[in-house]
């Protein structure tokens, strides 16, 4: 299954990214995806108890979607979160504006917003975005992915073509990071589309499974956003209907590959990131324990700054594992580092029997110089396993977030 970093076109979808006046310097800031046919919708939404207005709007659409989704609009700069009743009104107005421009109904329109919390949506600019974006529709996936960027440094888009026994179909997606990334259910903004026909139940199950092993396994800084959201639209325009277990499994496999690819892009372009860390925790007491240990390590400022400093300070990893609140026994644990993005045996064994091995600092130092580093922590307590993708904590992260609003 080959995941491409581009999107040619997806049957039945037209897309655009335009400048609505939200960003400075005529940068693209408003994206629109329109489907010719009504779509089945799947969605996973932030677990943050503070949910932005567009999240609440889309959750309502998700609950009742009698006529199918026809459009998805995304603006940057203002997150429309912590904006009270007026924020809900504005989310609805944004859907109405898009509906008017795309000749559909407001309840067939999804909206996403990302940017600063607490600022009202500038509705005049949203109106102009809706109008311009509707006029610009085409196969402009790169522009759409660019328009949803905030502190991202590059657009994140990917697609996979599946040569199924029923014919060829496509799944494609765009995503944005790049701070407040520690999803617990959904993460950041991700919009994926496919031209197959799926039942709502199958679509939702596929998205949930894919999200749990991709977007929910990345950590940039440990903050879960108020606006996190992943949605998938399926319009059936390819004429292919997936109903057998085998066909659905093939779709699931492709969707997971696409989601993982997009999720890793988000980490690689995380705020100030200089290192991409693949962290595998295995033989923990159970999967939930493995995840807790991995998250404790991935969110530790001390671990993250050590990677930034190219210091093989494995002690901080063991210490973070020890405070994860789940069983962990340093005397039974083993820890390996290896350059690259996939754990390997043998990597460099740094720690076992409760103490460091007699590894050479020079060998560890060479691994730390790589841009991609894989870390494996073996707990020897059970069958729990997880992989999390994370990154370092750099000066640039502090700079970016010290003056994000200014």
């Amino acid at each position: 299954m080959n995941v491409l970093d581009t999107i040619e076109s997806v049957t039945g979808y037209r897309v655009s990214g335009v400048h609505a006046g939200l960003k400075k310097n005529r940068a693209l800031d408003f994206a629109l995806i329109v489907s010719d046919k009504p779509c089945v919708m799947a969605g996973v939404f932030t677990t943050n108890r503070v949910k932005a207005a567009p999240v609440l709007w889309n959750m309502e659409r998700f609950e009742r979607n009698p006529d199918g989704i026809r459009a998805l609009a995304i603006n940057t700069v203002s997150a429309n979160a912590c904006t009270g009743e007026h924020g809900m009104f504005n989310a609805r107005r944004m859907a109405e504006m898009v509906a008017e421009q795309t000749k559909t109904m407001p309840h067939q329109v999804l909206v996403m917003s990302t940017g600063v919390i607490g600022q009202p949506l500038p509705m005049d600019k949203i109106a102009s975005g809706a109008e311009l974006a509707a006029q610009a529709l085409g196969d402009y996936w790169h522009e759409a992915a660019t328009a949803i960027m905030t502190t991202d440094t590059r657009p994140k888009l990917a697609s996979v073509q599946v040569e199924s026994r029923l014919g060829k179909y496509t799944i494609a997606g765009i995503a944005k990071g790049s701070g407040m990334i520690a999803p617990n259910m959904a993460t950041m903004l991700t919009a994926m589309v496919t031209d197959v026909q799926l039942s709502p139940q199958v679509a939702q199950a596929a998205l949930t499974v894919a999200t749990n092993s991709s977007f929910n396994r990345i950590v940039v800084d440990g903050d879960t956003s108020t606006n996190d959201m992943a949605v998938m639209l399926a319009n059936g325009a390819s004429g292919i209907e997936l109903s057998t277990e085998e066909d659905i499994a093939e779709f699931q496999h492709a969707l997971l590959a696409l989601s993982t690819h997009l999720a890793q892009k988000v980490v690689r372009d995380g705020e100030g990131v200089t290192k991409f860390i693949t962290l595998r925790v295995q033989s923990a007491a159970d999967d939930a324990c493995a995840i807790k240990i991995a998250r404790a390590i991935a969110t530790s400022p001390l671990v993250k700054t050590a990677f930034f400093g190219q210091d093989a300070n494995w002690g901080r990893i063991i210490a973070a594992a020890g405070r994860a609140g789940v069983p962990f026994d340093a005397d039974r644990a083993r820890l390996w580092f290896v350059a690259g993005d996939s754990p390997q045996y043998p990597g460099l064994l740094l720690f076992e029997n409760g103490q460091p091995t007699d590894y050479a600092e020079g060998d560890a130092g060479r691994i730390m110089e790589a841009s991609d580093i894989a870390v494996t922590l073996e707990c020897n307590l059970g069958a729990g396993v997880t992989t999390i993708w994370t990154c370092d904590l750099s000066h640039d992260y502090v700079t970016i977030n010290g003056d994000y609003r200014t």
Copy 2:
């Protein structure tokens, strides 16, 4: 109750801080506290499942203390954590060396180590530290507090004199930070002594209460160390025995004042700290919920970098509260900022009814320029309340921890 930033002398204790050769440039690196009389001991120890050898040694002493504690030795540079069986052997050897120099028994000696994880204790230097420190004993509290510093920029010592109805007595303590600070039971290294006589039960209860409201309420970076430990020794050398409820309550009050003072010093001298934040969460569902919300805010890299950038980005505080995993309703919450180290009404009200107030950015900006800022988050859900002391996340934190070992 006046807490002083100095320690004159505490009856029956002699103290020193010397250069044992662990740090460079003849910096003090080995501290010793000796009591003429055997002491009752109280202790709280890290909840990290990876416990350093000296923590385990002291926990054994705590379990069985038939002859009373006579000495406490502390070294820096090597933490003697993740050092396996040999680490336990070295912790015992360190106690034996100190016992020999101070004419007491090894099981009457407590040991603390702080520094890099995973490096063996250099026992020749520990031996020389024990010898030199024993020779240097006197009222050298400032030297002792200096000798236990790692990335701390200044020594942390404090004392309180209580004019009780039974006579005058003293409680004094030294502490060190300044990273890996997010205690969950004890924190960092703290050694406190008093010259009153207390039963072991009263001493332990007093230390537990004081720790829970002081050292356990500070957050620098969210990491809980393998070596966290707070101990209190009581030698009774003042001739004052505390046994009535009233006398014990007075002691408890003084001990809490001392602990809070030391804990705040640790935050103020946290790695790279430029802002001291007093965070009060009130009317949460219950106290446990208040603490979870406060910790989510205090450990959020986005909140911390915003304070560093002097940006009144209250949205990040609300977002962090929302992901704390406990009840929180943005529509009912209110958020105030005020310059200084104690919450005040009215401060500047930034947020209520689910949206920002019409506060002036200039007013918020002036508060953010202060070195001490108090934040109050009112949840309006119940009677839960807590105060946590925390700090910002700066470039210097990244620098310090990016090359700590090098």
